[in-house]
Structures are given as C-alpha cells and as structure tokens.
Symmetry: C2
C-alpha cells in the first residue's frame, strides 16, 4: 500500500517536472534547428524558404518521428468510466481510488466518435497543445506586433483601399468559399462520398470565414528584405492585419448563428442577430483596445510632464506598457469580446500616441521586446502546424474536399482582389496597377490565424475534416507561394530596392510642383479621414502626446482654463506651425525625425530639453530586426543619479 | 438533452477564455498598481518600500478582498467520488456522464485531511497556481538574470569568500535551523502544543534547508541605487546567488533521504547517499548548464568568423541565445538534475564567453530581455506571496512554531556570517570589516526561493505548517529588514556613492605603487583560481571568444595545425600582449571597454573590422535599468542590404 502511494507520487512528480520538460525540449530543439538553418540560408541569400516554412518542415519531420518511432501505449488513459452520481462535469473532480484521493481538472467534452483517438500513444497526446494556448498566449504578441509596427504614414495614405479589401474583401471571400464548398459537399453527398454527416450551409460559411484570414508573413518578409514598392507592401500588410481581425470576429459570429428551426433554412432574425453580433463585437473590441492604449498614453504623458525622472526607469516604463497592452487583451476576453482584435487596435493606438511619450530607451525596448515575442510565437505556431499533421489524432483526410477547398480559396481570392481593385481604381488618383493586383492575388497565403481558428473547434466530424483541410492548405500556400515570391516579383516586374521615404517624396514631386503637395495629399484622403486627421491633430495629439499645436489655440475661447491645464508646456513651441493641418499625414511621429527635408515641416521641437529634442532615431518601422540599422540614442538630460545619500 | 449539451459546452468555453482572463487580469492589475506606486516612491526618493515589498502588500490586500468579498461556493467541486474500477490514477480520465464523455486531466494527489480545503470558494481555488509554475516558469529567468548580470571582476576577486559563505554557510545555516527547530518541536510536543503528527528530524532539516536560501533583492536594489561599497555588494550578491543553488539541491537531497528502518534513527548509508546525491546533482547541473553555454559560445563564435552577415540578424541571435539557455534548464530537468542550478551556471558562462561573441545589438537585447523577464517574474512571485496568505486554503498557523523559526533563522544567520568571516579574515589580505559583517547579517532576507521550495510540497500537515511559517518569515524580513536598509547603512557608516571601477583602482593604488598591482591581484586569488585563470585565458577564451592570445602561441608546438584551425583571425592582434596573464582579472570582457586607462591594458583589438573595434558600450553591469545610462552603438560595418535583386 505504502509502496503504491510512493510510486504514484513519484510518477506524479515525473509527470510534471520531467515529461513537460521533454515536450518543451522538442520544441526548443526544433526552433534552434530552424534558426540555424535560416541563418545559413540568409547568408547564402537563399530566399525560397522563410523561417516559418522551415519551422513547419522541421515540425513535420519531428511529427513523423514521434508518430512512427515512439510507441508507448498508455492503456488506462483511453478507457471510459461511468459515473452515475454526476449530473454535469464539474471543473475539478476529486476521485477516491483505493483509499487515495486524486484531483482531476476538467479539460473538455469529447464526442463519442473521438474517444478512440484517446487510446494509444501517450507521447502524441502530450505533444498536442490545448487550442486555447493559441488564442491566449501565442497569437496576442503576433497581432500586437503587427499593429505596433504598422508603417502608419503609408497605411493612412491607403486606408480606404485597405479597409475595402479587409472588410468587403473578407466578406466576399467568406461567402464565395462558403457557396463553393456547399456545392461541393452537395455533389459529394450525391456521388456517395459524404454520407450521414450533417454538413449545413453554416458549416460551409464557417469554413469560408476561417479560410479568409490571410497571413502573408513569408511574402512580407521577402518584400521587406528586398524593399519592394511601399504602396504594395502597405496594401498587403494592412489588408492582412485587418483581415485577421475581421475573419476572427466573422468566424465567431457564424459559430453562434443559431436559427430557431431548420438549420438549413434561412432565418432572417438569426441572420441579423449575427450581423449585429459581428458589428457589436468588432466595435466593442476596437473601443476596448484603443481605450487601454489611451490610458497608457495618458499615464506616460503625465509622468513625462509631472515627474522628471522618468527616463531613469525604462524597465518600469516598459513593464507598464507591456502590462497595459496585455490587460487590453484580457479585459476584452473577460468582457466576452475578441481579445485579438482589441490587442490589434491597442497596438495601433499605442504606436500612434504612447510611442511619442516614451523615453528613447523604452521605445527601443518595447519595439525589440515585441519583435522578439512575435518571432518566437510565430515560429512556435508554424512548428506546431508541422507537428500537428502527424500528432493530431482525429484527422479526416478527404481528397475531394481538399481539392474543392483549394479551388474555392483561389476563386474567392480572385473575386476579392480583382473586382475590388477595379472599383477602387475608379476612385484612386494613384491606380493600383495590374501587376500589383496579380501579386496581391498571389500573396493570399493562409497561416497562423486560419490554423488557430480551425483547431479551436475539432469536436464534430465536419470540423475535423475542415481542420485537416485548412492545415494542408496552409502547408501548400506557405511552401509553394511563399517559395515562389521572389521569382514572381521578377516575373511581374515589380520595383524592388525602394526607399519608402524617398518614394513618397518622389511620387509627390512627380505629380506637381512642391507647393501642390498639399493638394495631392488632400485628394487622396477621403473627406472622412481628413476630418479625423484634423480632430486627431488638433485635439487628441496635444492631449495625449507632446506633438501638435497647444490645446489653448485649438479649443474655443471658453475652454481656455481647461486647455491650459491639459497642454504640455512643450507644445507651445509648435504654435507657429499651427494651422497647416494638411501636412499631418507627413507629420507622423514614427518618421517625423527621419531626415527632415525642406518640404516636410520640422515637427514638435521640445522646449523642455527632454527626449524629443536630443533623441534622434531612425529605427526602420516594421523592421523585423533582420536588417542592420544604425542605432544612436543619447540621454543627455538624464545622468545616473549618484551620491544622493551622502 | 441538446440544451444541456449546449449549456455545458458554453460553460466550458467560458471556463477557458473568460475565467482564466479574470485571474490574469487580477495579477496584471496588481502589477500595474505596484509599478505606479514604485514610480511615485522613486520620484520622491522614498526608499522604505521596494517594488517587491509593494507587490507583496498589494497582493495581500487583494487576497483579503478575494477571500472575504467574493463568495461563490462551487458545491460539486468539493465532493469526492468513488471509482472502484480504477487501480491507480491515470494521466487522463474519460468520464461518461449522462451520455456525454468528458476529459479530465490528472492534477495531483490530495491527502484526506486536505479534501475540505477543496470545498467552498471557487475563486480562491482558481487564484492558486500550480507550484510547478514557480520552478518551471518564474524562477528560471530570475536566476539566469542573476548569473548573467554578475559583476564578474569583483565576483572573482572575492570568489573564495563567496564560495565559503555559499557552501559552508548554507550547510551551517541548514543544520542550525534544523537543530533548533527539532528542539522546539520536541518541547512543543512535551507541553502538548503538537500532538499526533510525525515531525521527524529530517523534516526539521528540510525546513532548515529551505529557509537557508537568502534573497536580499530589496537590499541589493538599494545598494545598487546608492552605489554602496562594491566588495560588500559583491559578497552579498554572490553569496545569495550561489546559496540559492546550494539550498535547492540541499532541499532535494534531504527530501529523498530515506533511511531504511526507523525514520528518526541515523542511517549512515542513507546519509552518505544523500551527500552523494547532493554532490552528484550539483556537479551534474553545473556541467549541464555550462556545456550549453559553451555550445552557444561556439555557435555564435563560428557565425562571427565564418559568416559575415551575422550582425544583420539580431533577432535570430537573441532567439538562439534565449532558446539554448532555456534548453539548459529543460535538459537538466529532463535528466533528473536541478534546472535552476543549471540555468544559473549557464548564465555565468554565457556572460563569460558568449557575451563576447554577440553583436552589440544582441548584447543589449539579451541584457534587456532578461532584465525585463526578471522584473516581471520577481514581481509576480511577490504578488503571489501576498495573495497566498489569504487564498491558500490549507494554512496551519502555529504561533510558537513561527516564533521558534524566527529565532532559528537569526541564530543560524549569525552562526553562518560571524564565524566564517572570522575564519576568512585570517586568510584575506583585505579583511571583511565588522560593519560589513553586521550588514551581511542584517541582509539575510528570505524571498522567492524559500517560498517556492516551501510551496512545492504542501501535502502533509508538517509541510503545511512549514509553508505558513516560511511565508510569514518572508513577509517579516522583506518589510522590516528591506525597509530598514537605508537607516542601517547610515548607522553602520558604510560607504555609499562608490564608482566600482574607480574603487578597484583606488584600492590597488592604495596598497602599492602602480606596478605592484600584479602582486596584489596574485596574493588575493588562491592558487587554484590562478591556475584556472591561466587555463581560461590561454585556452578557453581563445577557443570560445575573440579575446586572449592566439592558440598557436599558447598550445605546444605539435598542436599547431589544430591550433591554427581553431584560432580566430582577430586573435593574432593580441599576440603582443601575450604573457601578462596576471592582468586577466582586469581584462574582463564585460568591463574591458570601460574607459581603458593607463594601467589596464587595452584588450583585444579586433582586426577584422567587426564589432569590437567599432562598438563602444558602457552599460553598467547588473544594472536593473533603474539608472539612466548613455547608450551609444553604431554598426558602421553593417549597412542594410539593399537592391540585391535588381
């Protein structure tokens, strides 16, 4: 008896300390291998395999090994026990086995047909993550980083187009995939390939929405490395970032769409409820994310003006920034909204306001921290995708369904990009040329988000088939299209080696003499965005950062006492430049210090002698740290404080 | 039926996405509050509360609120179910409840008397971490950071004393606490305060070993801020870092000490087995940690010499560094050794060799990354300690035992510091003065390690009593002694405002004319360390880094072909300075670029035109980021690569 207890207790400890270690070791090993391989490839300028593709490949090989080499059937874990006394599954279960009480934690509900998957290789089971890890741990840093490193100047120049592709395009893509898959499923049932399963139209739409999340990380990395035309880069990057958010919320809305009666019939009430859900969740998450960023901006702003010793504590500052951004995610989750969407807009807003208020050291730290987290999380996900092909136990491979899905994905991408580009070109001064459209069509890779959305729910057989299909489409697109990016760029004769800032100037200069620049800018931004810019520049920026004109000059007369209270003393230096709100698109804080040349006004000279005046940076935005850059920071204002006790 | 299923499935999702979010939100909120408070305190130079003390205080208040304000008894989770069919606890349990299969994961074994603690407030249960989180997630970055930020020059100057305090001192402390507690327990049983429990001598020793891990994080932060005498800082920091490792291995050895017959009688065989275990685990972990660091050094060394584009990929470099260091931890755990000890020595070795080979950007990134992780992990642990006082459900408060433990801890600290200092002063040229000894005695705070060791095992009632006692001693020492550091420094008239480098020079100059410096250094290092230094300088440094003389000149003639292969081309620049191995203590890579003055030789001019030659840093070692420093890095060698396709 005593012996058995000892044995079980040792087994328990082994379970925690050693088995967990072995699984993590496997991941570490894969990541190290990936890094070394990519390092080698980068040195040889071999661009056919990006690190994510490499990670997936190594994951695949490791999955193969685990599946066919390690064989350790754990008999007991596959048996189903009957417990008549329980009514529903409690969160913790205390079980008395031969006079010892064991604690078990609720994990999930399993469909009857999946029970078999739980018999057999214990190693395979252990290598299978909880799907919530993707949404709660791995995706947030990736998405935040995308928002935080957005090249805002170019992003806002193309905002209209990006929003069109992201919202309208994703909706089109979702519906087209849904319709094609529904046709396919009907046909397959007809020829006897699919039988008893209930494959509703909503399931097809669900598949359509999850497959609409594009993730051209491979393509963007190559674009970045080769300095491809900035407008193309921005269109693609902006679209992929926003479209993730749209696809996540869309998938969620479709999954909770529940018509009252026949699940195949169209139920207008349920449909409108879903649309309402979509809008509510999206807007709520947006608001939640931005408000946390505004709080961070206010705190860091307050500290910059009220306390002077701020720049001595970059760790505290970075910690606060990190925690508040994470809180945005958690609050959205806790409120039933979508944390990923909240964290995306939090990132964008942090970059827009808070970034200005941080000390130069913290700016670099936050950028590098999120860059590092993004790098690790991305490679872990792609490794795991490779592994999942062999370690996931409930795959349902259906060649016809996979073929249909591939066709649907390409048709949907085409009916998103080409018609919308045509429509957008009607309104755009600077057209989206044909070769850009082809490149965007080609860059419709599927990646982490599609995978995470598919693995979130693999309970029923249709969902398992969708998961398997999504996984294979990710493999196919990442390897084939990711690898073919460089040849495709050459073939489509797309400009490479473009300096983003020179490019903007050149384009402006091309069109008009230097003083017509204003008009170009004006013409390209829609009126809605110009109003927003005006508001942002006149009220929000002065309130939340040290840039822009002082509030005392922009607010009406009667607000003066309040305005004076809220304005940073350094803002008065800007007073002379007040009024030229047309320039604000160029007056972007992330790039404003970038070689201020004649026709871009020198912004925000900080008279308090604090960071802005002395700090000079040209960290390339969105830089994945894979390009060498010159780094020059000097705190002349803050000297380490010494002898304060003596 | 369908309704119920829906309900359970929604509950499940809520459980994952929302409940977890709420708990993390509480932690985030506490950390944000801590940061803001500490920011305020730092600005007002209020040094009585360190961030860890603040975190603990806020945790305590939050624990109080959760305990007495939220009341949500979860009836079902406290019930014990009988399962006759099972023989032992499988790792996953599938349970069929009203025709639905639920998966439960094995968590732990619970003693019968603890079952009651599982009834009641569900919130309290959720706020209780799995103890393995401390050892697998929170402690490793803290310990690695301690090793990586060791001020090596001063550390090695005092190595003999530090090792004496860490090994001999911890052993003395453990035995003294064990003996006193055993006496106390005997007395308590005698007067009827303790009854049926089996409180063996080994339990007392176990308590002694876990209470021997000192953690003067508060004191060291104040020392750092005030620039207290470097020798005192180094003695205290070095002792606390190594003594953690010793205490962890000691606790492990004692916990697996199992005499064959009567557990109270002394069993020589079991005792020597425990000693053997201690030595084996310590040496194994040391070897494991250092060898991973050596691998990292070799990889980064190889990349620096063989490939030239290294400095373009700081993210890859940082990623590799991070992953290999983590792998050291995981490998040690997987091999049944102590990961924490491995990661400590990995950190020290990484700083000694790998740091030299990193690009300037990666040096800064790795330092800042671990500093940030250390900051967060430390504050989470201290927050959790505060919370645990109210949320942990199996506390056993025994005032007499707590009083006894407090007495024992102080007596043990005194019998560690004073006798050992006396013995060390017999051999040391530069004595440890009385006021330093008093300060070291005073700085015997208990913290994260003691807590983590105590919470690791809280199954039996003696262990629970130990946990409660350890927690209260941590509170007491952190608040009282941590808060009293500044007055104590003034009272003991300890020098503050010392520049560590000036200090070393001044001390050397004090003793002798400038050319007697060598002798001083010689006299202070024991012969064993001089041999090690010679070996390190002649063979290891040239092999693993770019500093030191070329191997061709240090290895015997017949090794020349091999030596030429292994030597970095940049090492030949050092040839002139070969032979002055007495200087190596000053020739420390972390400080070598620090204002090379006349009597410290300028080291390792890198002839390849790579990083060493152009990079110039004066990041203060061990800097917690709380002091402003000047940062100036320039990659002149690496320009972003452009136009490579065109």
């Amino acid at each position: 008896m005593e012996k058995l207890k000892k044995y079980v207790s040792v087994k328990d400890e082994d379970h925690f300390y050693h088995q967990g270690a072995v699984e993590l070791l496997i991941f570490n090993f894969l990541l190290i291998l990936t890094i070394l391989t990519i390092w080698l490839f980068k040195n040889h300028r071999f661009r056919f395999l990006h690190e994510t593709g490499g990670a997936m490949l190594y994951g695949l090989l490791m999955g193969l090994i685990i599946r066919y080499v390690t064989k350790s059937p754990d008999v007991e874990s596959g048996t189903v026990y009957e417990c008549e006394k329980l009514k529903s599954g409690p969160s913790t279960l205390l079980i008395n086995i031969t006079n010892q009480v064991y604690e078990y934690q609720y994990k999930r509900e399993i469909s009857h047909h999946n029970v078999n998957g739980h018999q057999g290789n214990a190693m395979l089971q252990k290598m299978t993550f909880d799907p919530s890890i993707f949404f709660n741990i791995l995706l947030p840093p990736i998405i935040f980083h995308a928002g935080y490193s957005l090249k805002k100047r170019h992003f806002f120049r193309n905002l209209g187009s990006i929003l069109t592709y992201a919202f309208l395009g994703t909706a089109i893509s979702c519906i087209v995939i849904g319709l094609i898959m529904y046709g396919f499923v009907k046909a397959m049932v007809h020829i006897g390939q699919l039988k008893q399963w209930e494959f509703h139209f909503t399931d097809c739409l669900f598949f359509g929405s999850l497959m609409s999340a594009t993730d051209p990380v491979t393509v963007l990395a190559i674009f970045h490395e080769l300095n491809v035309d900035t407008d193309l880069y921005t269109l693609l990057f902006g679209e992929s970032v926003l479209n993730d958010a749209v696809a996540i919320v869309l998938t969620h809305s479709i999954s909770i769409y529940s018509p009252k009666e026949n699940p195949n019939a169209f139920d207008a009430a349920a449909f409108f409820q879903s649309v309402g859900n979509f809008l509510g969740i999206f807007a709520g998450s947006f608001a939640m994310g931005s408000s946390y960023a505004v709080i961070t901006a206010l705190i860091s702003f307050m500290h910059l003006t009220k306390f002077t010793k701020l720049c001595e504590f970059p760790v505290l500052e970075t910690g606060l920034f990190f925690l508040l951004s994470w809180t945005a995610f958690l609050s959205a989750e806790a409120a039933g909204l979508t944390g990923i969407v909240a964290v995306l807009f939090c990132g964008v807003t942090q970059a827009h306001y808070t970034y200005n208020n941080l000390s130069p050291d913290s700016r670099m730290r936050t950028k590098q921290l999120f860059e590092f987290m993004n790098f690790l999380a991305e490679n872990v996900i792609f490794c795991y995708m490779g592994l999942a092909l062999f370690t996931f136990q409930n795959h349902i491979f259906n060649p016809l369904f996979i073929f249909g899905a591939l066709v649907a994905v390409f048709v949907a991408r085409a009916s998103n990009i080409y018609p919308l580009s045509f429509l957008l070109n009607l309104g755009r001064k600077q057209k989206i040329p044909r070769n850009f459209q082809h490149m965007m069509m080609f860059s419709g890779l599927r990646g982490a988000i599609a995978f995470a959305l598919a693995i979130r729910d693999t309970d029923s057989q249709p969902k398992q088939m969708m998961f398997t299909t999504a996984l294979l489409i990710v493999f196919f697109t990442v390897w084939v299209f990711g690898g073919g990016t460089t040849p495709m760029l050459t073939w489509l004769q797309i400009r490479v080696g473009v300096d983003p800032d020179e490019d903007l100037k050149a384009k402006a200069a091309n069109k008009s003499a230097s003083n017509l620049d204003k008009n170009t800018t004006k013409a390209e931004s829609a009126w809605l965005f110009r109003i927003w810019y005006g508001f942002d520049h006149k009220y929000l920026k002065p309130l939340l950062t040290h840039t822009g004109p002082p509030l005392t000059s922009t607010l009406p007369e009667w607000c003066n006492p309040v305005a004076r209270l809220l304005t940073s003393p350094s803002a008065y230096g800007d007073q002379l430049k007040d009024g030229d709100t047309d320039y604000i698109i160029n007056n972007d804080e992330l790039t404003e210090n970038y070689e201020p040349s004649a026709h871009i006004p020198v912004p925000a000279q900080d008279n308090t002698g604090s960071i802005q005046a002395t700090g000079r940076e040209d960290i390339q935005e969105g830089d994945l740290g894979l390009g060498g850059y010159k780094l020059q920071l000097q705190h002349t204002a803050c000297q380490p404080q010494k002898n304060s006790l003596a």
